[in-house]
Each structure stands twice: as structure tokens, then as C-alpha cells.
């Protein structure tokens, strides 16, 4: 009898995943401009969803204010490149670090709130960010600013190359986030997190420092979210407080992705992102009706299938594509 973490499904998935990754890396050569942009957008949403899922599904920190860090990251990109003279790629890393730093005082304040009050508190914080940045005239105040042409050109000379670079950065970000989430959950910290999620009281009595674990998750998520935010606004080339800190774009859609895909699993956000974009591409012309449908679907899923699509699959077939659990394999002769 032996104990293993992986399974056949996981190994197959890994192989397929590697092949898909190769195809995706090659996308600038086979995909059209619009498709490339769409894929990039998908990757960035996937990253945001995976991060939100880590916080809510694993750490029990439900935030409806992650747009604070998305916008913050975007603004830091602009600030660091325009005023700091940093190359955009470096500025993105800088945005990540600054995002993590600003998250420290934010977390210290917000962690005084619990449960749903914590959630609304994160929203308030996002509003504070939005209102504050709207006061900074150097960055365009209430109407925002555009990324200067010379900074855009410094990424690469031709538009084609720039778009490929932006695409690869988006793909890289998604890979980085998923890998980071996966490795974190496999680590001791991650095990502690899952223990907390399953039974906070028991976890606490085992000596797991709940507060610190959640704090670390919040800070790390904030930093990576800021990084994604920087990438988003690098793509958009223009930033404004309302766009940067939009609840709809950076929180509502992300939440729907995670809920529909399956909260508390790594596979869930991936499925959710695909479903979300499939819906968007087919339904978006309907405007507000599309959002109402999204809201209804999220409510129905939460009430009837709270573990999402992946949860339904997993309950039926008991598979994990990202090996996180442990399995006991009996010997042949048992």
C-alpha cells in the first residue's frame, strides 16, 4: 500500500496541458489580432479569478473590493513609467511589489471586520482608492490619462511585436498565478489554509496561526492582482478612476467566473473563465439582459450547485487534475 498525490487523470491532464500551452505560446503566429486580444483578456481574467478563488475559496476571505488592487496596479504602471522612467516590464513588477506593500495597512484595518462585513469593507476601501486617485491631477484626475506614445513604443518597435509581447505577458501572468496558487496549496502553508477552511476552530487548536496565514494570502493576492492590473491597463493604454476601479469589470465578472466554475478548486476558475467568455461572445449584444442572465445563473448555481460546474464533475467522477489530495493505493495482493 502506498500513498500518492497524483492520479492517472492528473498525469493525462498534465500532458494535455503541456501540449495546449505550446499551442498557446505559438498563438501570435496563428491567431488574428482580435483573437489574440481575446485570448489575452481570457488569460488576465483567469489570473484574477484564480486569485479571488484562493482568497475566498481557500482562505475564506470574500472580497468584493479586489478592484482596488487592479486599479492600483494600473495606476502604478502609469506612474512608474511616466514619472519613474522605468521600462514597462519592470514597472509591472514594481506595481506588483507596491500592490503588496499597500495591502499591508489595508489588511491591518480590514481584518478587524469579519465575514460579510469584511466583504463590504473591501468595497469601501476600493472606493477610497478610487476617490483618492481621482484627486491626483498628475495622473489625470477624474478623467484619467493615456499612456504616452514613447513609452508604448519602448516595449517594441512594431505594433505586431508589441501585441505579441502583451499577449505573452498575459499568458505568462496566468501561468505564474496558477503555478503560484498550486504550489502554495501544496506547501505547508497551503495545508494550513485548507485546514482553516475546513474547520477554523480545529485548525486554531492545532496551533495554526490563522490570522497570519490569512494575512499572507491577502498580501500575496493583492500583489499579484496589482500585477494583473498593470497588464490590463498596459493593454488598454488608457486609465481613468472609473475604469480602473470598476466593480462590475473586476469584481462582479470575476465572482461569476469562480462561482460558476467551482469555488475552492484550482480547476474551477479555468472552467469558469471559459464558460464566461463563451457566454459573453454569444450574448454580449444583449447588454443589460446579459448581465441579468449572469446574475440569475450565479444565484441558481449558488443555490443548487454550490460547488460549481467542476464540483459537479468532481462529485460524479472523483478526479483532480491538479493533484492536491492524497490517495491510498492498495497493493495488488491486498
Amino acid at each position: 500500500m502506498r500513498v500518492t498525490r497524483t492520479s492517472r487523470a492528473a498525469r493525462v491532464a498534465a500532458v494535455i496541458g503541456a501540449l495546449v500551452l505550446i499551442v498557446l505560446i505559438a498563438a501570435p503566429w496563428w491567431a488574428g489580432r482580435a483573437d489574440l486580444r481575446l485570448l489575452g483578456e481570457i488569460f488576465l481574467y483567469l489570473a484574477l479569478a484564480s486569485l479571488w478563488n484562493l482568497m475566498a475559496g481557500y482562505a475564506g476571505l470574500v472580497s468584493v473590493g479586489q478592484q482596488a488592487f487592479v486599479g492600483f496596479g494600473g495606476y502604478m504602471l502609469f506612474a512608474l513609467t511616466i514619472f519613474g522612467g522605468l521600462p514597462p516590464v519592470v514597472a509591472i513588477a514594481g506595481a506588483a511589489i507596491l500592490g503588496a506593500l499597500i495591502a499591508v495597512p489595508v489588511a491591518l484595518l480590514l481584518f478587524r471586520l469579519r465575514g460579510a462585513y469584511f466583504a463590504i469593507g473591501t468595497w469601501v476601501m476600493a472606493e477610497v482608492f478610487r476617490l483618492s486617485f481621482a484627486q491626483i491631477s498628475a495622473l489625470g484626475g477624474g478623467s484619467g490619462s493615456s499612456l504616452p506614445a514613447d513609452i508604448v513604443r519602448s516595449i517594441a518597435d512594431s505594433r505586431e511585436t508589441r501585441e505579441a509581447v502583451a499577449y505573452w505577458m498575459a499568458l505568462g501572468a496566468a501561468m505564474l498565478v496558477i503555478a503560484a496558487v498550486y504550489l502554495f496549496l501544496r506547501s505547508r502553508q497551503g495545508l494550513a489554509l485548507m485546514a482553516i477552511r475546513d474547520n477554523e476552530l480545529a485548525a486554531g487548536s492545532l496551533g495554526i496561526d490563522i490570522w497570519r496565514t490569512k494575512f499572507v494570502v491577502y498580501i500575496a493576492t493583492a500583489g499579484l492582482t496589482a500585477m494583473v492590473g498593470a497588464l490590463i491597463f498596459l493593454q488598454k493604454l488608457r486609465i481613468s478612476p472609473d475604469a480602473a476601479f470598476s466593480v462590475n469589470d473586476w469584481t462582479a465578472f470575476v465572482i461569476f467566473i469562480v462561482v460558476i466554475g467551482g469555488i475552492g478548486t484550482i480547476e474551477g476558475p479555468i472552467i469558469g473563465t471559459l464558460v464566461f467568455f463563451a457566454l459573453r461572445e454569444t450574448l454580449a449584444d444583449l447588454g443589460t439582459t446579459y448581465l441579468i442572465v449572469l446574475g440569475l445563473v450565479a444565484i441558481v448555481v449558488m443555490l443548487k450547485a454550490p460547488r460549481g460546474i467542476w464540483g459537479l464533475i468532481r462529485a460524479r467522477y472523483d478526479i483532480q487534475l491538479f493533484p492536491l489530495g492524497y490517495r491510498v493505493i492498495p497493493d495488488q495482493k491486498d
Binding site: 465575514g115 476617490l131 449572469l294
Partner: protein, 287 residues
């Protein structure tokens, strides 16, 4: 004198915020539910008021006679139809379901009324004012504040001097044992939500008379109500009134310094209270 005026106006504004908060506080007290769609329901009530006024030609305050029961019935149906299914130990379902509700309400209002800002006209009430000790007080803000005091006083009285209030407190303490007293908790929760939305109806109509509103205004109203509750302290309705007043005063003082600072000043006051008094200024229970 200007500063005194700002403080007075802020206090009266606090009455409106207390009305936003009272419904939120009630629901949290009875069933530990935080309704993220609360602000959007306030806006919905405002639109409802607008529609009733347009259809009947009545004065908006009279329209309350229709809006309050309709919102109350909506609350009961919502609770029994959807929200009761989310209650339990897990905090995600009620949060995410009410969030979904928020999106639905906002977009349904957008569909029905377009994004144009609207206002409920109340004739003379909108601008009427009277002089007290050299200050000019608007009738509407004073009325709103009086309504807030009356509503909170009424809720307090209900909670502590009626059978329904006993039922609310009992169910909030121990759902299971409350059932042994013959209390159907699904019905009791429905009544609590009906009451909450009745208060929301009053808040919404008064809001609609006071300022212009549009489908996306819900988020800010939720935040103001929430901030008033947290500043005042959980589980204390009078504390919520105090919280609303503090928030209102912070906002008007901030606006005096710089009009663009109004909202930010309120948020900062909230954050300061959160930092030094995380349980609020007059807490009765810990959240």
C-alpha cells in the same frame, strides 16, 4: 457660523443614512445576513415611488402608502423564495446570492428606466425651509431626520415590547429552540425582511425626493448604511443613528474644505473608527 451650519446639515443628513442603515442592522440582528443588494433595493424603492407618483399624481409622501407595503411584500417573497435557502453556517451563499441580486436589480432598473438620472418631485417640500437660531433648516432634511428617529424608535419598541419582537430575538438567539415555541423560522425571517424592506421603502422615497438617482446609485447607499452601522456599533439601533450622524457630519465638513472631498471624508471617518474602535462606538453584540 458656517461651520455650525455644516454640522447641523451633516446631522440631518445623518438621519437619511440612519434610515439606510436601520434595515441592514435589523436583518443582521435577526438572521446574521448581510444583504449586499440593500442599497439597490433602496434605489428600487425610489424608482417605485417615482412610478407611483407619475401614475397617481399623488404627493410622494402619500405614495409611501403604496410603496411601503409593496416593498414589504417583496421582502417577504424574496426571503422565503431565495434568501432562506442561503442561511446556514457557510458565509459564501448569502453573500454571493445577494451580490447576484444586486447585479440583477441594477440591470433590470437600467432596462426599465434607462441610465438617465431621475428625481421624485415633491413640490414645495423640496426647497421649503425655516429659520432657527439664525440657521436655515430645510423642511425635508428635518422631516427625514424625524422619520429616522421615529422608525428607529418604532423598531426598538417593537423589538422589546411586542410578541413579534420577542419572536425575532428568540429566533436570532436559537433557531432550533425557537421552533419549539411554535415559531416557523422561515416565516419569521420573512417577516424580518418584510420589515427591513418597509424601512428601505421610506429611505428610498426620501432619497428620491432629496437628490437625483440612477440605477447604479445602490452601491454608494449600501456603503453609507454599512458605515453608519459599523461606526455606531453592531446590534444597537440608536447607535446606528449616531453612526449615521457622525458619517453625515464628516461628509459635510469634508465638503466644506473641498467639494470633491465629501465622500472621501466620510470614508476616512469610517476607517478611523475602524482603526481605534473596531467594535463601533456603542456596540451591543460583537459581529
Amino acid at each position: 457660523m458656517d461651520w455650525v451650519n455644516a454640522i447641523v446639515q451633516g446631522t440631518l443628513l445623518g438621519g437619511l443614512y440612519a434610515l439606510f442603515a436601520a434595515g441592514l442592522s435589523l436583518i443582521f440582528g435577526v438572521m446574521r445576513l448581510v444583504n449586499i443588494a440593500h442599497g439597490d433595493l433602496i434605489v428600487l424603492a425610489a424608482y417605485l415611488g417615482l412610478t407611483v407618483v407619475a401614475a397617481t399624481g399623488w404627493h410622494p409622501l402619500l405614495a409611501l402608502v403604496i410603496v411601503v407595503p409593496v416593498m414589504g411584500a417583496l421582502g417577504y417573497a424574496l426571503q422565503r423564495g431565495v434568501l432562506n435557502q442561503t442561511l446556514g453556517d457557510d458565509l459564501l451563499p448569502p453573500l454571493l446570492v445577494t451580490f447576484g441580486l444586486s447585479v440583477i436589480i441594477q440591470n433590470a432598473l437600467l432596462e426599465g428606466y434607462t441610465a438617465d438620472p431621475q428625481k421624485i418631485s415633491a413640490g414645495a417640500l423640496e426647497t421649503a425651509s425655516f429659520q432657527v437660531a439664525g440657521l436655515s433648516l430645510g423642511v425635508l432634511p428635518v422631516l427625514t431626520f424625524a422619520m429616522a428617529v421615529a422608525v428607529i424608535g418604532g423598531l426598538q419598541w417593537m423589538f422589546y415590547h411586542t410578541a413579534l419582537g420577542r419572536a425575532f430575538r428568540a429566533v436570532s438567539d436559537n433557531q432550533e429552540i425557537a421552533q419549539l415555541m411554535g415559531l416557523n423560522r422561515r416565516h419569521v425571517f420573512g417577516l424580518a425582511m418584510a420589515l427591513s424592506l418597509g424601512v428601505v421603502a421610506i429611505a428610498g422615497v426620501l432619497l428620491g425626493i432629496r437628490t437625483s438617482f440612477d440605477p447604479s446609485a445602490g452601491g454608494a447607499r449600501l456603503i453609507f448604511g454599512f458605515e453608519a452601522v459599523i461606526i455606531g456599533g453592531l446590534g444597537n439601533l440608536w447607535g446606528t443613528l449616531a453612526g449615521g450622524v457622525i458619517l453625515g457630519v464628516a461628509q459635510t465638513l469634508g465638503a466644506k474644505i473641498d467639494p470633491g472631498w465629501q465622500l472621501l471624508a466620510g470614508h476616512i471617518a469610517f476607517l478611523i473608527v475602524l482603526a481605534v474602535r473596531p467594535n463601533g462606538l456603542f456596540p451591543r453584540v460583537s459581529g
